[in-house]
């Protein structure tokens, strides 16, 4: 596979999964993610892998969790309505520290919404969708190349931190075709979960990221979504056991946030105004910067490749210089609120929102908002 390709985003995601070592896929067809299940149904058996179409999304993520405990790297792919159905098992995977990758190719919601059209309305659901205290790792690709690169990264983070990782794509990035380069395999970093020694007994604590056994290896591992001690034994009456467990689960992501967070930035130290964007919307920002320059506006931007954990520090760094920050999104305001929280009222934050029909925010529309905003803030 090492060479240049002209791939669709979903195809790049599927091939990247194989490259990352994924050998199990369970899915349920849903627009606009179906090409991932179709491509893996064809390709995984060629690579000694299993692809199965389950009866619904609850079963799809359930099977992925089972496969992960059987020792396989495993993935599922869906869109908004299916992502909603997966929330309970996402919480289970978090609580039981089951590495797996969930691809959500976003479309317009709520409910069935506009099934074939692009949206970015699931950002908060990807962070807070399941019940209880948790922390999520969510990656946001903005090109076909990143559908490939970030899918591999999603597997690596899942394996490293023993946690479910969400690739939050969108219909535009998933369905467009672009040239991409698949690097030679020795240039691709692949992370595998830490396995226990035969003498290890604790797989759910005592270390920040405990080693993970597989079933059928003689460990007599007990896995449960109930509050459990480091041996995996249920303890639902003891407050300290719950605190220790859930604070560690959230902590292992919070404490390692700086290693997890990736972003692209341009001119953030010197700009008078900034843009925070992610996913397909960020593709219009590059041209907006050029258009703004011609109007005499010194614009910088920050593009989130990791949406969660949220990169407060870098947003604050941009806000030190910029007087105003714009947040364009194909929803009615989600990352906007995070930016507003991060800058703590020091600069004005302006949402730029557009929903419906899968229409992107154009560079001209962005420019008009920027010009208007910069003028008013002065």
């Amino acid at each position: 596979m090492t060479k240049n390709h002209f791939w669709q985003g979903n195809e790049a995601c599927a091939e990247a999964a194989i490259t990352a070592g994924c050998r199990f896929f369970a899915g349920y067809p849903i627009t606009p993610s179906s090409e991932i299940v179709e491509h893996l149904a064809l390709r995984l058996p060629q690579e000694d892998g299993i692809a199965i179409q389950m009866e619904d999304e609850l079963a799809a993520l359930g099977a992925v969790i089972g496969a992960s405990w059987a020792g396989a790297k495993a993935m599922t792919a869906t869109s908004g309505p299916g992502f909603s159905l997966m929330q309970e098992n996402i919480g289970y995977a978090f609580m039981t520290e089951t590495p797996c990758v969930i691809v959500n190719v976003q479309r317009v919601g709520p409910s069935t919404g506009q099934a074939t059209k692009c949206g970015q309305g699931d950002v908060m659901q990807a962070r807070w969708g399941t019940h209880g205290d948790y922390a999520s790792i969510v990656l946001s690709p903005n090109s076909v190349q990143e559908m490939f690169d970030l899918t591999i990264r999603a597997f690596n983070l899942a394996e490293k931190y023993r946690t479910p990782v969400i690739l939050l794509a969108d219909e535009i990035v998933a369905h467009m075709r672009e040239p991409i380069t698949v690097p030679p395999s020795d240039k691709i970093e692949i992370v595998n979960r830490k396995k226990p020694k035969q003498t290890d007994k604790t797989f759910f604590g005592s270390k920040e990221i405990p080693p993970m056994p597989s079933v059928g290896q003689g460990f007599n591992v007990a896995v449960t979504g109930s509050t459990h001690n480091e041996y995996g034994i249920r303890y639902t009456a003891d407050p300290t056991v719950h605190r220790r467990l859930v604070e560690r689960l959230v902590g292992k992501i919070r404490k390692n946030a700086s290693k997890i967070i990736e972003f692209e930035d341009y001119n953030i130290k010197n700009c008078e105004a900034g843009i925070v964007s992610y996913g397909c919307t960020s593709r219009a920002v590059y041209e907006t910067v050029d258009l703004a320059k011609k109007k005499g506006i010194n614009l910088g931007f920050l593009r989130l490749k990791t949406v969660w954990p949220f990169p407060d520090d870098i947003v604050q760094a941009m806000a030190k210089n910029a007087k105003i920050v714009f947040v364009p999104e194909m929803n009615l305001g989600q990352v906007f609120y995070e930016v507003e929280r991060a800058v703590y009222g020091r600069v004005s934050v302006v949402p730029i929102n557009k929903i419906g029909g899968g229409e992107m925010i154009t560079p001209e529309e962005l420019l008009a908002e920027v010009v208007n905003g910069v003028r008013n803030v002065d």
């Binding site: 050998r23 199990f24 369970a26 064809l42 058996p45 060629q46 000694d48 892998g49 299993i50 199965i52 389950m54 009866e55 619904d56 609850l58 079963a59 799809a60 993520l61 359930g62 099977a63 992925v64 969790i65 089972g66 496969a67 992960s68 405990w69 059987a70 020792g71 396989a72 495993a74 309970e88 098992n89 289970y92 079933v215 059928g216 003689g218 460990f219 007599n220 591992v221 007990a222 896995v223 449960t224 979504g225 109930s226 995996g232 034994i233 249920r234």
Partner: protein, 261 residues
């Protein structure tokens, strides 16, 4: 470790039957098995009390998780324990789809005809007219015949017994474990705490006597009119047949796919 079951719970009988079954099949302990279970009293049969791997999952999703385990490790014996609420209520779709796929696992459904753990609410298996905490005027919905449903969906093996029929239950478990393909056992089981108490059968032996009275064998049942079968429990081995299973078909495809690649 203390077991979590109430005094007189039928799940204890199911544990006995299962451990005797595997002992008679030549297993020294259950360590060659992987147990998956969902939510409810019966989900605690194996997890974490058996000396084996156990995955205790979300309500109703034990069979999907078992699917993932079996497809990656076809060499392992994968057994699902669950109650009627878990397997015939919230997880019913997975049960019949696994039967349709002929997924090579064993599913043991402990059917106590009630939601026991949550305090005695009506289940999809509760007999007509039964008063429960959510049907204070009596249950108006007909109960599922889960075993026949699983047979119709395509299971390789299906049997139903009650916890009164311990020898038959154990023998069926042996057959279920050794049958290639989807094997289902419905063990109609007593819940004195949340079911018996409210229907005038306060102690476990009262319910077992009732099971004995209302059970008819499959052969007897065939000769009876539908009206006379109302309120009866038809017990026996409903089906025992062999045809290709998942995962074996998927592993065959793998060989084919590699030739074409």
């Amino acid at each position: 470790m203390r077991l979590p079951f109430c005094a007189g719970c039928g799940n204890l009988t199911i544990i006995n039957c299962f451990l005797r079954a595997i002992h008679e099949l030549g297993y020294k302990d259950p360590s060659k098995f992987v147990f998956c279970s969902g939510i409810g009293c019966a989900a605690w049969i194996a997890s974490p009390y058996f000396k084996a791997d156990s995955i205790h999952v979300t309500h109703g999703r034990s069979i999907p998780v078992a699917t993932g385990v079996k497809l990656i490790r076809p060499d392992l014996n994968v057994v699902v324990f669950g109650g009627d609420g878990d397997l015939a209520g919230i997880g019913l779709s997975h049960l019949i789809h696994a039967a349709r796929r002929n997924l090579d696992i064993v599913v043991v459904m402990s059917n106590n005809m009630i939601y026991g753990m949550t305090g005695g609410q009506v289940a999809p298996t509760t007999p007509l007219k039964t008063k429960t905490t959510t049907t204070p005027y009596g249950n108006v919905e007909r109960p599922f015949d889960t075993t026949r449903l699983v047979v119709a969906a395509g299971a390789s093996y299906a049997a139903r017994w009650t916890t009164f029929h311990i020898e038959q239950l154990k023998e069926s478990m042996k057959k279920a474990i050794t049958t290639k393909g989807f094997a289902f056992i419905e063990a109609v089981s007593q819940c004195p705490t949340a079911f018996g108490r409210r229907v005038g059968l306060k102690k476990a032996p009262d319910i077992l006597r009732w099971f004995k009275e209302i059970s008819v064998t499959l052969q007897e049942g065939e000769k009876m009119a539908e009206k006379d079968l109302e309120g009866k429990i038809v017990v026996g081995e409903f089906v025992h047949r062999e045809f290709p299973t998942v995962p074996e078909t998927l592993y065959e495809i793998m060989k084919e796919a590699k030739k074409g690649a």
